[in-house]
Subunit: 256 residues, 2 copies
């Protein structure tokens, strides 16, 4: 049974998509059969991995709202062992459409059931909000990975995110647990970064991944080439950090 991990943080721009693409690419490079799900209408994970959202006839919208079979939506990527359920602009209407649908929070969970036996890791990239799309990710997942920019506003939103995960655990998905917080865009030169890290580590202790992702311009260049960092510049600090994060994730799972 594959692990379903939601990559979630309602704060915008904290590195959700960058983490989703690069973590899945590193897991696939380590020969773990991996599926990436783009649950954001911005479709950044889709384009960042080299697929043009505008050319898609079917997307995750159809999986959620029209219950189209996954075989008609799934795409192979240029990476062996990494497949994608893509997104496109049609998804932006889904939140309003889902409001009046039965089992509106469980639609992704139900759609992924047949896929859990085919993949070791299923990773979901969430949009920057706590609406019905993110709720679907939190109900489908057994673990939540939280990318957190080393900035003040990002820290402020963490309490609300944890409270929401707690509510989902109580009312909708008893299996969900926080896999860990990943500190992203860390800039060694600023005291702000160091202060934020100290605050997060003292609060959340072993729930914070040891791997810290540095601010590295190569990470923000890679998506314009449609490639994960390990295929764009394997020697960059960004690539090395995501390789180490993937190893840490796999190691933590073994310890349980």
């Amino acid at each position: 049974m594959g692990r379903i991990i939601a990559i979630t943080n309602q704060k915008g721009g904290t590195g959700k998509t960058t983490t989703a693409i690069n973590l899945t690419a590193c897991l696939a490079a380590g020969r773990k059969q991996t599926l990436l799900i783009d649950l954001d209408p911005q479709a950044n994970a889709t384009s960042g991995i080299g697929i043009n959202p505008k050319e898609l006839r079917r997307s995750v919208y159809h999986l959620l709202v029209e219950q189209t079979p996954w075989e008609q939506i799934l795409r192979h990527t240029s990476l062996k062992h990494l497949d994608l359920i893509p997104s496109n602009i049609e998804l932006s209407g889904a939140e309003i459409e889902l409001v009046s649908m039965p089992r509106r929070e469980k639609r992704l969970k139900e759609a992924l059931m047949p896929l859990q036996d085919l993949y070791e890791y299923i990773i979901i990239d969430s949009p920057p909000s706590l609406g019905l799309l993110t709720l679907n990710a939190l109900v489908a997942a057994s673990a939540v990975l939280i990318p957190l920019q080393c900035e003040y506003y990002a820290l402020e939103g963490l309490g609300h995110l944890m409270a929401t995960i707690h509510l989902v655990k109580k009312n909708l998905n008893p299996d969900i647990a926080v896999e860990g917080i990943v500190l992203t865009m860390h800039d060694r030169r600023t005291t702000l970064s160091t202060q934020v890290i100290q605050e997060v580590v003292s609060h959340f202790k072993d729930k914070v991944f040891k791997t810290i992702i540095p601010r590295n311009v190569r990470l923000s260049e890679a998506p314009s080439h449609g490639k994960p960092i390990i295929f764009y510049d394997i020697h960059s600090p960004g690539a090395q950090a995501y390789i180490s994060l993937a190893k840490e994730l796999v190691r933590n799972a073994k310890k349980r």
Copy 2:
């Protein structure tokens, strides 16, 4: 009649809140009677200007959903000529609640009518989505200011944002127009920044503000002190850039 300007971009983390706080502070310092509206459940504009969202009994939620009079919600800030309609966590339920309400896109527009004669500038900080909250901002406003990070993903989302503004203009608010695109977090050292700027300027020509906001750590430190940049570090490159942006905005209005 005050100008209502929405600060909008569905891409997360592009500098919407940082621009909303610092632009309003500079307008107020220039003795323009200014109102900042925080339309994001994250309430970053509220805390960034020094007001604790957790202590509020009333917020913009009550203005939109319960039609509470604005006098019971408005707060004065520590800056002369700058008032705030604050946000807090209650707003996160508003999007689902608004779906089934009459005139759901016009509620902010109607609530702001009495305020337009009291302020020269009313600036709205939007959340990172194109849902009903942002739609309310686009219907209430006569101008849209678009902060755009000098990054690839930010560029990708611009087309969709322009298309949405066009739809709002056609169906909901014929007065709306793009005031301009503000390039933010520009890092002179990276070629990516320069490439994005060239692409935006060649596409959108005079719709791009001449003032470019540099990446400046003082801008990300200021919110933890609850102060706009001009009161945290007036000599910083960030403060100088927002002073110049406020002047450019006022100058452009005079030219029309």
